[in-house]
Structure formats: structure tokens, C-alpha cells
């Protein structure tokens, strides 16, 4: 067997024969046209219109988010600026095929140069160009293969037109060799719960018909799997399917140790769904939604109304609210207007709130009022705390406003290392594993080119989490986890072994984690954590934990 690595989307696992997406046709040659520029222009106009209508029709069939994307692509095909660019090339005696290819390429280069989100939209444009050129050549447009049996689709990157119409009964899993965690393939795989691994660069060598295992939880494609490996993967897929329908119980280990399972929410509207999926409370309520859509801070009344709605959904239960976490990927003009070279290292989180303390004071006022009006157990925490001094600043202020339980998020390595002192003052700590990983590995978590560093299994991250777990035990204070790491069932066991006392995650992940926790005692969880800690890197930590868990 060989293992090909990429970024897994979700936690599923699947197996089956590979079917590759047809490679794009070769680029048209720059030979002079043999017909007049007007005749070429008429051909291109027809082809562009036909492709636009086809994309619109596909959009209407797919509906939802896919329809928006496909309609945008149809507009790209008929874009007036692009038509001018094509016209200029036709006037120089180029063929329609080459003019289309070259004009699209110039826009593509512009988007790629802008990087990030816009760079990933370049794939949308490539897809439109391929379709127009195929139409001009009179050949079928590149698209999803149809081998006549279920398959693992392997492609460079999937265009929205392809993903929108994937027949889920036929597609067992998706593997792309390009594209990052924010590519269309990734977004749609999440939306439709398809097992997917993106950016698996070495998957270019996969052949049609060969059997592979696609393990999204591990981000690994296994080629030439043994019968044993195939069986294990099948068992996991079956276990996952049955966990989804298992009865909902409070989170606990095999020996009865309680591990409350909480929900991450970004809006009070999600509360009912979270309760239905068995959330025992809220481990992370993000308050940004109140702020991101406005050019100024919401009023105390507006905030109180939103918090009251949330707290009322969880009577008698714990609800951890994080005060505004602005900056970096969530800039807010009224908090910080300055341009920063490295916003992730800039004036964000508690630093930004401190600089605009009235916003923090208003938020604490609204939270205390909502708490008084409801029966939930309100905990409030500050984001991006880096020092003991910031901890004291926040907890003092929160208690001044009558907040009964005030804590901090541990996302910066400095606060993990000093957790024993931070937890003297803070009532609790909650570890944000996404940011903790980004800061520990010094890799921007929004950047596709360094996405492979963003793995919370890294032993350096696990060691920091152990520091916080130990500090929690020594001070008798709870330590929660509220990053995506808690949604990875085996990692959830490791986190509990490292000292986490509660886990908070997207509500859809609760069933998987609940089922896995029930398989291990606290002593086993500690052994599994010890095995992971002894590894050299994230991949070997994961496999060491897997071995320890099956002993």
C-alpha cells in the first residue's frame, strides 16, 4: 500500500474503484485563421451563447448555492470585457479557439495573481473556457465520467458545473490533486456530505479502475489496500452510519466519566437543531454575527435580545459566549481600520476590544442582562488572550458587570504555556485548536499553500494542550475544547486523555464523537494520548493513536 496525502473534508471514509475526470483538451495552436474575422466572430458568439444557456440550465436543475455559481459562470461566458478581448484577437487574424483561450487566460492570470479566494475562482473561469473551446471544436465538454458503476472520482479540481450535478449514488468519494480547503470541491463536499480529499498532489498517478480507500478524517488516500485495510475501512463506514442513528445520550467514556458534549453556534437560530442532535449546552457561541453585517456596533438592546433568545433555548444548561473576536479573517472597520501586514498577529481579539473598551463594556452589559432574564448557566470568555495580565483585565471587568463565570480562550502558545497561572484567575479555559495550531506551526490557516501545517494532531499542539489540561487539574478548573479538533472522534479521545473536561463542536459531529468516546475508558484515553504525544509529526501521531486505540 501507498498513502497519498491531502486535506480531508469531513470525517467519512469510503472505498472503491477510481474513475478519472477527462484531462482538459490541449491548448489551441496560434495558427492564423483560414476564415474571415467576422466569420470567426459569429462562431464565437454562437458558442459563448450556447455555453451560457447550458450553464444556466444546469443551474436551474441543481438549485441552491450551485445555481448562483453556475449563473455567475454563464455571465462570465458572455462578459462584455471578455468579448472585447476576444474581438481584438480575432481582428488580428487569430482563430476563434485561440482568441477564446488567450483572452480567458489573461483574466485567469489576473485572478491567480490576486491569490486566495479570487485565485480559487480562476478554476471557474478555466471551466468556462474549456466548455467554449470544446463547443467551437465540436467535441463534448469535459465533465464527470460515467463508468457505469459507483466510483471514486479523481480530478484536478472540480468545476461548479460538475459538482452540482454529481450523481451521489454513483460517486463514492472525491479526490482532487489541486484546490484547497476553500475550493468549490471542498465547499460542495461539505454541503452534500461527500467523502472528499482535496489538494492530494500525488493522486495524479492514480489509474482508472484501481481500488483505493479515501479516509477524509485522516486526509489519506490508500492505494493497493490489503483485504484487512479494506475491511477496517468498511467497518468504520458502517460504524459511522450506525452512530448517526444511535440513541442520544450525554457524552461519556466507557467507564462512565462524563465528558459533556456541547455545540459551537454562530447564531441563536441554530439552537433548536443543536438540541435535537443532543448538544448538552453551548461550548462556543460566536457573537460576530451581530457585528459583521453592520458598519457600527449593535446597540445594547439589540444584543440583549439576541443573547436572551440563545440562553432561553438552554434552560439549566451551560452556554459559553465568546465576546467579539474581530480582526484577521474577520475585520471590522469600526474596531480597527489600520492596514496590517500580518493581521493574524495584529490588533485582534481581546487586544482590539481593549482598544475600543466601550464595545466590550456594552457587550458585557447586554450579556449580564440576558443572563438575569433567563435560566441558562452563562459563561463568558475572551478571545486571543496571550498574557496573564490580559486574563486579569478581562475577568475583573466581566465580574464588575456581574458575569458569574469568566474565562479565557487559549489560542496563543504563550497562554497555553502559562495556563497554570492564567487559571488561577480565570474560572475556566477553552482551547481554540484552529488558531492554536496556526500560531504553533506559524502557518496562516486561510492559505492553501500551507494548509498541510494546519493539523491539530501535531505533537507540538498536543503538548500545549496537555499543559492546559494539567493546569486545569492543578487548579480545579474546567478546560474545554472548542476548535474543529473536537469533531475528530479519535482526536476527541486524545483531547480527553490530555485533560479536556468538555468538547464543543459543530452539532453535526456530535453523533460520531459520542459513539467513539463510549469505546474507551479514561485510562485508555490517557494511553492513547501518550502514544500520540510521542510521535514526531501529525501523521505519525494519528497512526500511533489509531494503533493504541485498537490494542
Amino acid at each position: 500500500m501507498t498513502e497519498l496525502r491531502g486535506v480531508g473534508i469531513g470525517l467519512g471514509v469510503a472505498q472503491g474503484p477510481v474513475a478519472r475526470m477527462a484531462e482538459p483538451a490541449p491548448a489551441p495552436s496560434d495558427a492564423p485563421s483560414t476564415i474571415s474575422a467576422d466569420e470567426e466572430k459569429a462562431r464565437v458568439t454562437d458558442a459563448v451563447a450556447a455555453v451560457a444557456r447550458e450553464l444556466e440550465a444546469r443551474g436551474a436543475q441543481a438549485g441552491g448555492a450551485a445555481q448562483e455559481v453556475l449563473e455567475a459562470q454563464a455571465m462570465m461566458a458572455e462578459d462584455p470585457t471578455l468579448a472585447d478581448e476576444i474581438g481584438t484577437r480575432l481582428a488580428q487574424g487569430k482563430t476563434g479557439e485561440f482568441a477564446v483561450y488567450d483572452a480567458f487566460a489573461s483574466f485567469r492570470d489576473q485572478l491567480t495573481a490576486m491569490g486566495g479566494y479570487l485565485g480559487e475562482r480562476a478554476a471557474d473561469l478555466d471551466d468556462v473556457a474549456q466548455r467554449v473551446i470544446a463547443r467551437l471544436r465540436g467535441v463534448p465538454a469535459p465533465g464527470v465520467p460515467d463508468p457505469g458503476h459507483p466510483f471514486v472520482l479523481v480530478a484536478k479540481d472540480l468545476a461548479p458545473a460538475d459538482t452540482a450535478l454529481l450523481d451521489l449514488d454513483k460517486v463514492l468519494a472525491l479526490v482532487t490533486t489541486e484546490g484547497g480547503p476553500t475550493s468549490h470541491t471542498a465547499i460542495l463536499a461539505r454541503e452534500k456530505s461527500i467523502v472528499a480529499i482535496v489538494g492530494a498532489t500525488s493522486a495524479t498517478g492514480l489509474r482508472d479502475g484501481e481500488t483505493v480507500i479515501v479516509d477524509a478524517a485522516a486526509g489519506v488516500v490508500t492505494t493497493d489496500p490489503t483485504a484487512d485495510e479494506l475491511e477496517r475501512a468498511q467497518n468504520r463506514a458502517d460504524a459511522r452510519a450506525s452512530a448517526a442513528s444511535a440513541p442520544i445520550t450525554d457524552g461519556s467514556l466507557a467507564d462512565g466519566t462524563a465528558v459533556p458534549l456541547l455545540a459551537n453556534l454562530g447564531n441563536p437560530d441554530g439552537a433548536a437543531d443543536a438540541v435535537a442532535l443532543g448538544a448538552e449546552g453551548v461550548g462556543l457561541f460566536r457573537t460576530e454575527f451581530l457585528f459583521l453585517s453592520s458598519n457600527q456596533a449593535p446597540t445594547v438592546e439589540q444584543q440583549r435580545e439576541a443573547y436572551t433568545k440563545l440562553l432561553a433555548a438552554f434552560p439549566g444548561k451551560k452556554v459559553v459566549v465568546r465576546v467579539l473576536d474581530a480582526g484577521a479573517d474577520k475585520p471590522l472597520a469600526f474596531l480597527n481600520d489600520a492596514h496590517e501586514e500580518n493581521p493574524a498577529l495584529g490588533l485582534r481579539g481581546i487586544r482590539a476590544l481593549r482598544a475600543s473598551e466601550d464595545i466590550l463594556r456594552e457587550q458585557l452589559t447586554a450579556l449580564a442582562e440576558a443572563d438575569a432574564a433567563t435560566d441558562a448557566d452563562l459563561w463568558v470568555m475572551a478571545p486571543m488572550v496571550a498574557t496573564v495580565e490580559e486574563t486579569t483585565y478581562f475577568t475583573d471587568l466581566a465580574r464588575d458587570y456581574g458575569i458569574k463565570t469568566a474565562g479565557v480562550m487559549v489560542e496563543v502558545p504563550s497562554s497555553a504555556l502559562l495556563a497554570d497561572r492564567i487559571l488561577v484567575d480565570a474560572d475556566f479555559a477553552s482551547i481554540g485548536t484552529n488558531d492554536l495550531t496556526q500560531y504553533t506551526l506559524a502557518a496562516d490557516r486561510l492559505l492553501g499553500s500551507v494548509a498541510s501545517f494546519q493539523d491539530p494532531w501535531h505533537p507540538a499542539v498536543l503538548r500545549l494542550i496537555r499543559e492546559v489540561g494539567d493546569a486545569g487539574r492543578a487548579n480545579g478548573k474546567p478546560v474545554g475544547i472548542c476548535g474543529e479538533a473536537a469533531a475528530d472522534p479519535l482526536l476527541a479521545v486524545v483531547l480527553v486523555g490530555l485533560g479536556a473536561t468538555s468538547l464543543s463542536m459543530a452539532p453535526t459531529a456530535l453523533a460520531d464523537v459520542r459513539a467513539t468516546l463510549l469505546q474507551h475508558t479514561i485510562a485508555e484515553a490517557r494511553d492513547i494520548a501518550t502514544a500520540a504525544l510521542a510521535a514526531n509529526d501529525a501523521a505519525s501521531a494519528r497512526s500511533a493513536a489509531q494503533r493504541a486505540a485498537t490494542r
Binding site: 448562483e68 455559481v69 449563473e71 455567475a72 455571465m75 462570465m76 462578459d79 462584455p80 470585457t81 471578455l82 483574466f107 489576473q110 485572478l111 490576486m114 479566494y117 479570487l118 475562482r121 473561469l125 459583521l292 453585517s293 458598519n295 475585520p331 472597520a333 481600520d337
Partner: protein
């Protein structure tokens, strides 16, 4: 009638990419008169061109200048300005 211009601040949390860019370019196209959009002091591009609009790389909080020329220019600019200052992602 001379062309008229208006400067507005972008309200969409994700700037003028993807869905907001599509809505804007579609509205500009449907208006049926020449309209341009420029970011800050940059050179204007055809507002009906989704690619031209996306390539400006407009983010939330940026200022853009719309210019329209022809019948109903005033009311067209009203509609487009409204589109740009609304946060479309917040509705979803």
C-alpha cells in the same frame, strides 16, 4: 445630459466577489445604459462585466465610484448604490 457619478462604501462582508459581484453586474447589465465602476482613484471598468468587477478585488469598506450616462441615470445609480451598500451575505 452629462454623465453623473456617485461614490459609495461597500457593505458586503465578502466584498464584491462571487454572489454580490454577480448581482451587481447583472443589475448594471439590465439597466441598459453605459455604467462604469472604479475603485478609489483607479481607472473605471464596465460595471456590466462580472470579470472586470471581480478583478477590481473590492473588499468590504472600500469606496467605489459609479458613473452612469443616459436615460434614467439617476434612478439607476440609486438602485446600484443600494445594492453595493447592502450586506448580501448577511441575508443568506
Amino acid at each position: 445630459m452629462p454623465p453623473i457619478s456617485r461614490t459609495v462604501r461597500i457593505g458586503s462582508a465578502h466584498g464584491l466577489h462571487a454572489r454580490p459581484a454577480k448581482l451587481f453586474a447583472q443589475a448594471a447589465k439590465d439597466a441598459g445604459i453605459p455604467i462604469t465602476i472604479a475603485k478609489d482613484a483607479g481607472s473605471p471598468v464596465n460595471a456590466a462585466s462580472i470579470l472586470g468587477v471581480i478583478a477590481l478585488g473590492i473588499e468590504q469598506g472600500d469606496y467605489v465610484t459609479l458613473t452612469a450616462d443616459g436615460d434614467g441615470a439617476e434612478s439607476t445609480l440609486d438602485t446600484l448604490a443600494e445594492l453595493l451598500t447592502t450586506d448580501h451575505d448577511a441575508e443568506a
